[in-house]
Amino acid sequence: MAVLDPTLAAIRPAERTSALATLHEWVVTVDHKRLGLMYIASGLTFFLVAGIEATIMRIQLVVPENHFVSPQVFNRMMTMHGTTMVFFVGMPILLGFANYLVPLMIGARDMAFPRLNAFSFWMSLFGSLLLYFSFLGAEGLYGGGNAPDVGWFAYAPLTARVFSRGNSTDYWTLSLLVSGIGSIGTAVNLIATILCLRCEGMTLGKMPLLVWLNFVVACMILVAISPLTAAQIMLLLDRFLGAHFFDTQAGGSAVLWQHFFWIFGHPEVYVLMLPGFAFASEIIPVFSRKVIFGYPFMVAATVAIAFIGLGVWAHHMFTVGMAPAGNAFFAVSTMLVAVPTGIKIFNWLATLWGGKIRFATPMLFCLGFLFQFLCAGLTGVMLAVAPFDWQLSDSYFVVAHFHYVLIGGLLFTIFAAIYYWFPKATGRLLDETLGRWHFWLFVIGFNLTFAPQHFAGLIGMPRRIYTYQAGRGFEVWNQLSSAGVVFQLAAILVFLWNLGRSLVRGEPAGDDPWDAWTLEWTTTSPPPAYNFETPPVVRSRRPLWDVKHPEDPDWRYE
């Protein structure tokens, strides 16, 4: 308690705060920093849960025709792993970081709508608990329920009443509907905060890239989550009121669900990845000791990704039998979106170029991100070639691709962000040696698990299968893949140990342990509830650089 809020202790030194009083404070808080930390904490908790689900799958798949778990259990693990990771790990952690950092980086005291902020968090948390309650509560009248087992994208008509008995699918639908409301709330809040609460002198062109990227992400959330909300309402109407949106017996279309889902689903992966880019755009410059190369082009590329990304969704549907014109169009748009993404990679490289690179743990994770995201982007280009996708779609090649994006890309930048901003939030540094162990174990484990999956896909192994036959050539790739899990588990254990130990006994960080340049480093670690003593006034994109280098300030060159 004292670590996290020194100002309160200063005001009331004689009072001993009881555990209950502390809990109450956290439950009723509307402070963006506390809500941000709660988002991240809940996200990390579900990360462990979904990791266990993945481990169960990898144990089942280590040898052919294995009987570690039944097909029903495997299919639930498969569904819950994907759903949890996207909606209850990725979104909360990233929205948590946005919540924590955006007001600090723009020199504001809080978000535009603090109570909406709290409401959004609790909706999100409730959604996650609702999903996991399905393990207990989904039996329903038919006795056929349990956790959902329809895959994280829940294709129709597999989700129809007749093919999904009990209430497991309904738990999937409702939990995402509820947490989607939370996401939209946070998105509205972020947009209003960024447009209305920037400190004096901070024009849109002087915001840190993290703020820009989160602004674009918030706009995307508004446009992208809503189609999923709509489709889920339609699914609920089908299942409960006998509607026929996706009822093929009544002339409905199974493909319509796919269109609606992927109109959400593809922008969603940019919603997940862009905040990762934001972390990289803040961390790489600091540890290269150079300003980010090409700020205006980074902003333009982000906006381009957002717009083009709204027009690529049917590359998930190359195999449904669209007309050649449709397949060709989406192949072209998908390849086009690779261009601004590549521009970002080149700009990060140019930032490294000519710098003085410090290999602190945040930077190690960012370098891993750069390499692995390069691989991910290139396999994405391969998948954009529609005929190649006719072979690779729904195979382990796709599984490898998106895990390279989401783990090799996103998770690595999340780890970088945790190591980078943990000192600001807690006032203590994470241990560097343990950080190195975490990084190396995870790099080895992650690549060992997912690189072989490319090959499994190329020789014909489809995804979402609970077992496979001997003699198809899949064995060696699955063994390598499962072996990597051991290293990843070890890495996570080291990471958790580091977190716990550093919270209690970490080295004091001071205001600015990394010698960085954005506004959050001008206030204490942790910041007081009101963030800044006096609202800052800025003149460039790197206000602290101007303070530290008054003879050579940024605003002369921007």
Binding site: I191, L195, S226, M234, H244
Partner: protein
């Protein structure tokens, strides 16, 4: 340590920032537009594809009267906000009440239409694709009308109890933006369902 951030670099004149209430409601409107777009897409996609049952041409009449009532409520709410900005609280209360009344009449009209469709024409949400897409789209719109009416009623009660002043005009305007959005959606639904889709 906080830097003495009286000024980092020279002071720049403050540029005007937009009102957060307006930005917030516009964000919500953007999200809701996306939701409605998907329901409209489903409606358009399924036009003519019902395997059985009544068709739009057979059972739908142009709901001119209730539509005019609803669109008029956009005018009345605009007048209400203008009155409040000028400090004329009683005028505001009157126009605000008229908006609620017009919205309620719209809902009653929709309810009457649905009654006729269900009991006379035997069209329900589960009858065919037309029933599914019609009731869900019009119902989604009606639910947004209901939410708007509830919020406006809260405002009306506060006004009648004398708690509303000119300073609250901004908040009333935010709610009026939502209401204009609801009316604009009805323009699209009216055209798609009752004009083009029939």
């Amino acid at each position: 340590m906080t830097t003495a951030t009286g000024a980092i670099g020279a002071v720049v004149p403050a540029s005007p920032r937009p009102d957060r209430g307006q930005v917030g409601i516009l964000g919500l409107i953007l999200a809701e537009s996306a939701v409605f777009s998907i329901f409209i897409a489903a409606y358009v996609y399924y036009v003519g594809k019902s395997l059985t049952g009544p068709t739009p041409g057979q059972v739908l009449d142009l709901p001119i009267i209730i539509s005019v009532l609803l669109w008029s409520s956009s005018v009345t709410i605009h007048l209400a906000v203008r009155a409040l900005r000028a400090g004329l609280v009683s005028a505001f209360t009157l126009w605000w009440f008229l908006t609620i009344l017009l919205g309620t009449l719209f809902l009653i009209g929709t309810g009457a239409e649905w009654y006729r469709l269900i009991y006379h024409d035997r069209l329900t949400i589960r009858t065919n694709l037309f029933g599914t897409t019609f009731y869900s789209l019009v119902g989604l719109h009606a639910s947004h009308v209901i939410v708007g009416l509830v919020l406006m009623t809260v405002g009306l009660v506060l006004a009648l109890e004398g708690h509303v002043r000119a300073a609250h005009a901004r908040r009333a305007e935010v709610l009026s933006l939502y209401w204009h959005f609801v009316d604009a959606v009805w323009v699209v639904v009216f055209l798609v369902v009752y004009v083009v889709g029939r």
